[in-house]
């Protein structure tokens, strides 16, 4: 479905995406994780054909992608994007007329569910509601690839939960590739199947959530008891507190000796340790 072959994107002297190769074979909800400036939005723009790559090849559904050849099968609207200052209802109608695969009923249902006032003009909406409108317009397109860039920015906790439910509903109704970039890591963990972690423009890890659940854990106990266990294990971070030590592991499970506990690592902690590297631990 999606193929990135040695893709590089440079902005002047800055390398935003650095030689990334990645294959996404089929439908699923994928989470694109990375720190601010890691290159998440650039990857999405490259996939949507909004910007040209400086090097490498990108293809979606077997077709090469570039600004001159924007794929019909991709739906992407950058977060915080500006819209015409029209009523929300009119904007949804306009999107419905502009996009061939637009599901008008789904958009109306989502707008209603999120209490988006369709009579309000775009500039009258709160930041969260503007983000919501962008997410609705993107998700209502039944394209084969949906790219959501920070879709819950400005949402309160209830809205975020509702959004995740709707994301699943949308996916179950139309299974396709949905890539979500977000900083609210633990919340997206409830709906995502695979993680794509990038750091400083490079692909760090592409892994299934089940594998993270299995391999990411924390060993806690006295430093004397925990330290010998780390030999041969991929320790991605350590948190010493007095004489105690919490070691964060991304490796096969072990059976800890008495006095050492093993706990599941949250996705957020996993992300912090695997990306933060030397700065954490």
């Amino acid at each position: 479905m999606i193929e990135f072959s040695n893709v590089t994107k440079k902005y002047g002297g800055l390398t935003a995406v650095d030689d990334i190769s990645l294959k996404i074979p089929g439908s699923g909800i994928y989470c694109l994780l990375g720190r601010n400036g890691a290159g998440k939005t650039t990857i999405m723009k490259l996939l949507a054909g909004h910007i040209p790559a400086s090097g490498g090849k990108i293809s979606v559904a077997g077709k090469p992608v570039s600004p001159g050849r924007m794929p019909e099968s991709v739906s992407f609207i950058e977060s915080g994007s500006t819209q015409f200052n029209m009523r929300v209802g009119a904007l949804i109608d306009a999107a419905s007329s502009l996009q061939e695969n637009f599901d008008r009923e789904f958009a109306a249902e989502m707008a209603d569910k999120f209490e988006l006032d369709t009579k309000k003009k775009f500039k009258q909406l709160s930041f969260g509601m503007k983000t919501m409108l962008t997410a609705i317009i993107t998700l209502a397109n039944n394209a084969e690839l949906i790219l959501l860039d920070e879709p819950t920015l400005g949402f309160d906790a209830i809205m975020r939960d509702q959004f995740n439910t709707l994301l699943l509903e949308s996916y179950n109704a139309h299974p396709r590739v949905i890539i979500v970039s977000t900083h609210l890591i633990d919340e997206i963990a409830k709906v995502t199947e695979r993680l794509i972690i990038i750091n400083k423009g490079r692909l760090l890890l592409e892994v299934g959530m089940d594998e993270v659940d299995e391999k990411a854990y924390t060993l806690s106990g006295s430093a004397d008891a925990v330290t010998p266990l780390l030999e041969g294990l991929n320790c991605i971070g350590k948190t010493p507190v007095g004489g105690l030590l919490a070691a964060h592991i991304y490796d096969g499970r072990i059976t800890p000796p008495p006095g050492v506990s093993i706990d599941r690592m949250s996705l957020q902690d996993f992300f912090i340790h695997i990306v933060g590297g030397k700065n954490h631990g």
Partner: protein, 237 residues
């Protein structure tokens, strides 16, 4: 595709309120100053000098398609993409919106010239009303030909403005700007080149052969507008 192009056209026309406002204010002030005030003055026995020359108010409407041709590539492009429009459909929708405005403005100016400017001037109490469609000799073959010549010329101007605006920010945009300035400044002082420049402006404006002028303007407009395809393909969002 037709539905999408039609939607782009409607969005462009609907969201050009700033251009409508600017042109509306200019038109209103000109109509008040040129027509209404002078009519009131004439009714009170105060007549303007017949040697005065004023520009027909309708000619100011020419600004509308020109302003819209600036706003569409600068203000509307990204918003249209944010609603999920495709670049090809954006290009056709922009063209449709500009053609609609050009035709509407040409009708408006022609109507104002024949229904207001000429009758007022004919009374002999008002100053000369100069309208480009008469100054350029476009009405010498009648109202319909005058309208067609005006439409063709406005299409050429609009397509040139749209294309130049769309290309700004890229090297080829700056190159085009420099080329235009260079042609005018280099061609003007050199007699043979000046002749070539005169020949060109004669062909697109002043020639008495209406069909040549219309054909030249439409062919040039189509050629210039076609340049938007590669320009748009390189435009980043």
């Amino acid at each position: 595709m037709v539905k999408s192009i039609s939607a782009v056209t409607k969005l462009n026309l609907k969201n050009s309120k700033l251009a409508y406002l600017i042109v509306g204010i200019i038109l209103a002030t000109q109509i008040i100053q040129n027509n209404i005030v002078k009519l009131i003055m004439a009714a009170n026995g105060v007549y303007s000098s017949v040697d005065d020359v004023i520009i027909g108010a309708g000619a100011y409407a020419w600004l509308l398609p020109v302003l819209v041709a600036v706003f569409i590539p600068t203000l509307h492009f990204r918003k249209m993409m944010n609603l999920g429009a495709k670049r090809g459909n954006f290009l056709w929708g922009a063209l449709c919106a500009e053609v609609i405005l050009v035709v509407a403005v040409a009708i408006f100016n022609t109507a104002l010239f024949y229904l207001v400017d000429i009758p007022m001037y004919a009374t002999g109490y008002f100053p000369i009303v100069a309208n480009p469609i008469e100054l350029f000799g476009w009405t010498s073959h009648g109202m319909v030909i005058g309208f067609l010549r005006q439409t063709a010329f406005l299409l050429l101007v609009t397509s040139a403005v749209h294309t130049l605006t769309a290309a700004q920010g890229k090297w080829y945009g700056f190159a085009a700007d420099i080329a235009i300035v260079a042609i005018i400044s280099v061609f003007t002082p050199i007699a043979p080149l000046r002749e070539a420049l005169l020949w060109f402006f004669n062909l697109i404006i002043f020639t008495s052969a209406a069909s040549w002028q219309i054909a030249a303007c439409l062919i040039l407009a189509a050629g210039i507008y076609a340049l938007n395809k590669p320009i748009l393909a390189r435009k980043i969002i």
